[in-house]
Amino acid sequence: MNIYVIMKRTFDTEEKIQIDSGEIVEDGAEFIINPYDEYAIEEAIQLRDEHGGEVTLVSVGDEEAEKQIRTGLAMGADKAVLIEDEDVENGDQFSTEAILAAYFKDQEADIILGGNIAVDGGSGQVGPRLAENLGINHVTSIVNIEIEDGKAKIERDVEGDQEFIEISLPLLVTAQQGLNEPRYPSLPGIMKAKKKPLETLDLDDLDLDEDEVEGKTNTVERYLPPEKEAGKILEGEIDDQVNELVSLLKNEAKVI
């Protein structure tokens, strides 16, 4: 099977986000593989081990993403492609998806796995839009997948409920938490990852012009959520407290 994983380098979830003149400060921040993409990588490796074939990691980003890609190779993926998007103006989900589509139209993918969302942008759009563009089936937010005779049996998470789907390949799926427990990259895996093929492509290699993939969205403003203020603890008889709560919700918080 030709198994592909689309993955992204993101901020470490432990990092505190800082904003300076409307831009997120990246200096000194730690970066990781997007945690949902880690589930996708793990599942891809398990599918390969069961059905044979190859796992190829594909990431759109800058050269800094090499460390995260190599980590994916250290987990057990076979090869990787990094598509550099430094020349893209105002890149957004459309840009990433358009670049990926240009790459995938020349590939014979049986299955493409990705994360349900990236923990930075959080749009959850790239996967489904890519599938639409390639004209293949897609299922988002999966928590289990079994493949047999060109068909996939999938369990997906629907806001806490389960949906069971049978669907034919080729297919794009996005991984939800609970799909698996990603392995640690082992020491021998890390040492081997050095020698695994990592191909770097740019827009020219994909016959794309910069303006073809320019972002379609415009960020108007970026700000941090307001600091949480100390809560109010009501006192007195329960009836009085309830009355006070209702009046506060009505007049102060204006939510009812």
Binding site: R70, A74, S186, P188
Partner: protein, 382 residues
């Protein structure tokens, strides 16, 4: 100068950090309280290749460098000093001398299971009356036919209860100058006459396995002598030089754990209507901790780098161990002070960090011995 780590070194550090925080840190308090050796975590560490980082693949290792190994010790130490100590001793004291001085057969037979993590390494040097004063070694090995017969006692030997073999140093005779000739022997732990007891009650690193060895007419075939029979003394000095970098890294990990906890607490704890971190009295403590640990990091990484470059590192390893361990104890002590009454409580981990850090000033050569080593290296008269 280039202060950056390679991609592999960073990947190894990140993986070990992730593993240590998820698998080791959650049981650190429990193993300290109950003095339980966390063998299950050593199995997992073996599967991930952590016990073979600095050894080539042909000997079951991962083919990494000293610096990668040192970063791993630091991350494990940050999660749990006990686990860190047993890890550092297994690699630096148990496996390293086999790699550095063993014959091809000895490496295949004894290093491979250690590097793969199937067994833990142990190094039997210290005796009730001899540690850094190796000249005082009393354990004797006498050649009878084609076998050595070893008699003696060893104390404070890390990991021996979980080891397949233990390297034991013993006096084999006198050299031309009338000084004791010391050799190292590879002794299987199931040898008749060898008793291994772990009955010590320690102040810190309580989850680490610390044992006493009693050797009564233990027979070892002549070929199980490790390396050059007449250079056992120099061999273990070299082994200890390498071990010191790992103890320094372990101290660094413990110190950083205490410092990070104190910094976080200072950003949360309010007194007199203000965060205590806004008081200069607390800020100065934190600034000193940050500075000392940063300086210690530089020295530890430099010593490891020198070893990787095959350059002399004896002086730098002693400096790294001395400075990192004393900085770590100071950092833990100040972190406890910043936490006040909470710091004195087991629940906050700081008191454990302090108890664990104190050993770093003692094990594998006290701070005083490190100063002696440095004094010799800089050319003080003997």
């Amino acid at each position: 100068m280039d202060f950056s780590f390679s991609k592999e070194q960073l990947m190894i550090r990140d993986m070990v950090r992730d593993f240590a925080q998820k698998e080791i840190a959650p049981i650190a308090e429990e193993i300290d309280r109950t003095e339980r050796f966390p063998i299950e975590n050593f199995k997992k560490m073996g599967e991930l290749g952590l016990l073979g980082i600095p050894f080539p693949e042909e000997y079951g290792g991962s083919g990494g460098d000293t610096l990668s190994y040192i970063l791993a010790v630091e991350e494990i130490g940050k999660a749990c000093g006990s686990t860190g100590l047993s890890y550092a001793a297994a690699v630096s004291l148990g496996a390293s001398p086999l790699y550095a001085f063993g014959t091809e057969e000895q490496k295949k037979e004894h290093l491979v299971p250690l590097a793969k993590g199937e067994s833990l390494g142990a190094f039997g040097l210290t005796e009730p009356n001899a540690g850094s004063d190796a000249g005082g070694t009393r354990t004797k090995a006498e050649l009878k036919g084609d076998k050595y017969v070893i008699n003696g006692e060893k104390c404070w030997i890390t990991n021996a209860s979980f080891a397949r073999t233990v390297i034991v140093t013993a006096v084999t005779g006198k050299d031309d100058r009338g000084k004791n000739k010391i050799s190292a022997f590879i002794v299987p732990t199931d040898s008749p006459g060898l008793t291994i007891r772990s009955e010590y009650e320690k102040m810190g690193v309580r989850g680490s396995n610390t044992t006493e060895l009693v050797l009564e007419d233990v027979e070892v075939p002549e070929e199980d002598i490790l390396g050059d029979p007449s250079k056992g003394f120099n061999q273990f000095l070299y082994t200890l030089d390498g071990g010191r970098i790992s103890i320094a890294a372990l101290a660094l990990g413990i110190g950083k754990a205490a410092y990070e906890a104190a910094l976080q607490y200072s950003n949360e704890r309010k007194q007199f209507g203000k965060l205590i971190g806004s008081f200069q009295a607390i800020q100065f403590k934190l600034a000193d901790m940050a500075m000392e640990l940063e300086l210690a990091s530089n020295m530890v990484y430099k010593a490891a780098w020198l070893k990787d470059q095959k350059k002399p590192f004896k002086k730098e390893a002693a400096m790294a161990k001395l400075f990192a361990s004393e900085s770590a104890t100071r950092a833990c002590n100040q972190a406890l002070q910043i936490h006040g009454g909470y710091g004195y409580m087991r629940e906050y981990h700081i008191e454990r960090y302090l108890r664990d850090a104190k050993l770093m000033e003692i094990g594998e050569g006290t701070s005083e011995i490190q100063r002696l080593v440095i004094a010799r290296e800089i050319g003080c008269p003997r």
